[in-house]
């Protein structure tokens, strides 16, 4: 993965740029000491690091506007950053860029239960949005696994999903409006506390645009009343194909569970050794969770059992209590921690058509053998969003390169069977150079035009998402 060389003219003007920013901001909102900016040299994709020119941590939309206006005038690139939890390198800086972090903008501006929305500053963490409304019996539905740490700004940037999006959708389906600051410093409101905004759906375009179009400083989010209850069932199968067929039958049966999670043998064994959740010894495991009143849950679980029994599960465990539910989820929720015990890992998130599941798992097995690297699979089976975890040793020279090459082959496979490179993490720098696998030149050109309009000088997060050769002329202009 290459990043463009820093702009020498900008580096030469560093002092002037810093002085200009310092004049706009309180002293604690600007960081230039290299010891302190080190904390911003990478996000959760730690394989790539670069110290930025400076870091700004504004507290208001006005400050964000002032920073962007100044950077625009100076021709300085800006890297928007939420909580820095991107797995795709979405907020990886370059040496000639200013990081604009919104983490200090974490206030709740307005809560309106009757109209089912909350308006927050974008640096607020995902889980603390639910925290602000749960006493009244509400929650914010998108639940990426980093929800304790990740910011709404990053959720909007990447259009984050989570385990429960089969029923509730992803960020874009739960986002009513944003306050957006363009690279030129202009503040615009897209959408708002209502369902339909007139005109082109710019809100939908901004969501998932990976900080390419503007900096989101505030958001109106849909909040929902909490269901009366939820309970999972765990089932084990003798083959991936059988588990895949069972998922399809549950969906065809008219059931809409809130989550259908899938783990393969390597993942089951690793999590069992790590978390001792009491998972069965089997090839494939499903966790299916349903919601409703106790009687409604019983009714749905009975229907699911009838479907599952047609597929001869080797294990079947229905939760009857909070404690049993916790144990069923324990292994799944510790899956990533368990992988960390086995070595370093790369987590991919390509999506495939659900019908291709058995085929893709077989092919991943072949690739894994060919590369000599283990791959554990845990994923959201209801929507086909895979999470293959490639295990490698970062201290072994060449291992990272091999793991990345295997990852690229797995993502090519996802596209080949009709899927996509990323279902919820975003492209960032990690999958940037694979975009041509999924998109033709024209497909990308259509996307680039939108950036041309929002950010004509290509200063916002410019070396991300699209292959560098595709954007070279625009970035140079």
């Amino acid at each position: 993965m290459d990043m463009p060389l820093p702009d020498a003219a900008i580096l030469a003007r560093r002092d002037r740029i810093v002085a200009r920013l310092a004049a706009l901001l309180p002293a604690d909102a600007l960081i230039t000491d290299p010891v302190e900016t080190r904390a911003y040299e990478c996000d959760a994709l730690t394989a790539y690091r670069c110290q930025p020119l400076a870091v700004t941590l504004p507290r208001t939309t006005e400050e964000v506007s002032a920073i962007l206006r100044a950077c625009h005038a100076e021709g300085v690139k800006v890297i928007p950053r939420g909580a820095g939890t991107s797995l795709a390198g979405g907020s990886l800086p370059t040496a000639d860029a200013v990081v604009l972090g919104v983490a200090r903008m974490n206030a709740v501006i307005e809560t309106d239960y009757a109209n089912r929305f909350i308006r927050v500053q974008s640096g607020r963490t995902n889980l603390s949005v639910t925290g602000a409304v749960e006493a009244e019996g509400f929650f914010y539905a998108p639940d990426p696994s980093s929800q304790l740490a990740c910011a709404i700004a990053g959720n909007i940037g990447m259009n984050s999903g989570g385990a429960h999006c089969l029923k509730y959708g992803v960020t874009t389906n739960n986002l009513l409006g944003v306050t957006l600051v363009t690279m030129a410093g202009e503040v615009v409101q897209l959408g708002g506390p209502f369902l339909d905004a007139g005109g082109l759906d710019l809100l939908g375009v901004v969501c998932g645009s990976e900080g390419q179009l503007g900096v989101v400083t505030e958001a109106w989010l849909r909040i929902l009343p909490k269901p009366e209850g939820a309970r999972p069932v765990l089932m084990g199968f003798g083959a991936n194909e059988v588990a895949g067929a069972c998922v399809a039958d549950i969906i065809k049966g008219g059931l809409l569970p809130v989550a259908i999670e899938f783990m393969d043998r390597l993942c089951i064994e690793a999590t069992e050794a790590f978390a001792h959740a009491g998972y069965p010894d089997c090839e494939a495991l499903l966790i299916v969770e349903v919601e409703g009143s106790p009687a409604e849950i019983d009714d749905q679980l009975a229907r699911i059992r009838a479907i599952a029994e047609r597929h001869n599960p080797v294990a079947y465990r229905e939760s009857r209590s909070e404690e049993e539910s916790r144990r069923i989820w324990l292994g799944r929720k510790s899956a990533f921690g368990a992988m960390g015990q086995m070595g370093d890992y790369i987590c991919l998130d390509g999506t495939i058509p659900v019908s291709e599941l058995p085929h893709v798992l077989r092919r991943i097995g072949d690739l894994s053998a060919r590369y000599g690297l283990r791959v554990a699979n845990v994923f959201h089976a209801g929507d086909g969003n895979m999470h293959p975890l490639i295990i490698f040793n970062a201290n072994q020279p060449g291992d990272l390169d091999r793991a990345e090459a295997l990852g690229a082959d797995i993502l090519r496979l996802c596209v080949e069977v009709g899927g996509c490179l990323t279902g919820e993490h975003g492209v960032g720098v990690e999958k940037r150079d694979l975009m041509h696998v999924q998109f033709s030149h024209a497909d990308m050109e259509a996307q680039l035009r939108v950036k041309d309009v929002f950010d004509p000088r290509w200063l916002l997060n410019p070396a991300k998402v699209f292959p560098l050769d595709v954007t070279a002329s625009r970035r140079a202009a």
Binding site: R116, A248, D383, T422, G423, Q447, V450
Partner: protein
């Protein structure tokens, strides 16, 4: 012109010398365009339907009825309850699935299942330069690249001609029930609908038709619908007498049936639900229908009356759906947003072939 392939369509657009009037079924457009007609009916047929994956891909000119029939045969449906606008707009013809997308046409279930744009997972289109492009795909979770699927949904053909669309689907529930609350007026009606929508009972329809009552719908397996109807009946009793209606009121609400034969202009307002009653009072309308808990208001207004001037500034916007007047159909946008919108239109349609 009637292209039978995307390549043919691209050639027609490249060769165009003036405005183009792109037509699916001609059942929804608010301001029918002038210029050389391009009909999408030749781009027809379901390309892929996987019931086990809840996904469907169809060419844009496929009749909506064909899509709905294929889904119904497998006990599935488009989640967003597509309105039929023919009665309101006085049109005939067959709605196409591409037209549904271009209008982001979404009915009462939007409060729970989202709009057309929320179920749309991929599309292909040819822009005003004759360049075919795809965005999204056929999988439910996809954040690869910038989301032009949303941009095209509800763009009314301003940026290009859709050739293919892909949806995620939902199973048709086993049963449904609708409660009617005999409310005293719009204020208590919107409050009752809010009480229903903020309950944990997964309400899939919340509308108020003056003189008929406030309607609340639940859908699902029979035991669940029975339980939820009971719970909602108890909670809504504070707003007026509650009964279970025998007829299905939702098609009429969805299609704005009470205004079909009525004289006057028809406006469609999107706003914050609790603000709806005051807004309607300000509108001095002849009649009003509230959907989406009050977030969508259909108004019947004196012909030629500029409702936007009467309403002043409010959270939301007003679209003039049916009128003989020269008033603008779409709500004027703030300058900064209009600049972005026009900038995008200029990139996708530099020759203004699809222009307003």
């Amino acid at each position: 012109m009637r292209p039978s392939s995307e390549a043919e369509l691209a050639e027609m657009i490249k060769g165009a010398t003036g405005q183009l009037a792109v037509r699916g079924g001609g059942t929804r457009s608010l301001a029918p365009a002038s210029g050389a007609v391009i009909e999408t009916g030749g781009l027809s047929g379901i390309r892929l339907y996987e019931p086990g994956a809840l996904t469907l891909v169809a060419q844009a000119g496929t009749p909506l009825t064909e899509v709905e029939a294929a889904l119904a045969a497998q006990g599935q449906r488009l989640p967003f309850e597509v309105p039929d606008m023919r009665g309101l707009l006085g049109r005939s013809g067959q709605s196409t699935i591409g037209g549904v997308v271009a209008a982001n046409a979404s009915g009462p279930r939007r409060v729970q299942a989202g709009a057309c744009r929320d179920s749309l997972i991929g599309l292909r289109f040819v822009d005003g330069t004759g360049m075919p492009a795809k965005n999204g795909g056929r999988v439910m979770k996809n954040v690869t690249g910038i989301d032009l699927v949303k941009l095209m949904a509800g763009s009314w053909g301003r940026l290009g001609v859709l050739t293919e669309v892909a949806f995620k689907l939902l199973p048709v529930p086993e049963t449904a029930a609708t409660l009617r609350v005999a409310v005293a007026g719009a204020e208590p009606a919107v409050a009752a609908l809010s009480a229903a929508l903020t309950s944990p009972f997964d309400v899939t329809g919340a509308a108020f038709v003056p003189h008929e009552g406030a309607f609340v719908r639940v859908e699902g397996f029979a035991p669940s619908v029975a339980y939820r109807s009971g719970e909602l009946t108890r909670r809504l009793a504070a707003f007026g007498a509650v009964d279970v209606v025998a007829h299905d009121p939702w098609p009429a609400i969805r299609d704005v049936a009470p205004f079909h034969q009525a004289k006057g202009d028809v406006w469609r307002i999107s706003t914050t639900p609790s603000k709806a009653p005051a807004l309607v009072a300000r509108a001095e309308a002849r009649a009003a229908i509230y959907d989406w808990g009050g977030g969508l208001i259909w108004l019947l207004v004196d012909e030629g009356r500029d409702l936007r001037a009467a309403l002043g500034a409010f959270d939301g916007h007003a679209t003039l759906v049916r009128s003989a007047s020269a008033l603008p159909r779409y709500h004027p946008e703030p300058a900064a947003i209009a600049a972005l919108t026009c900038g995008i239109a200029a990139k996708f349609d530099p020759r203004h072939l699809f222009g307003e």
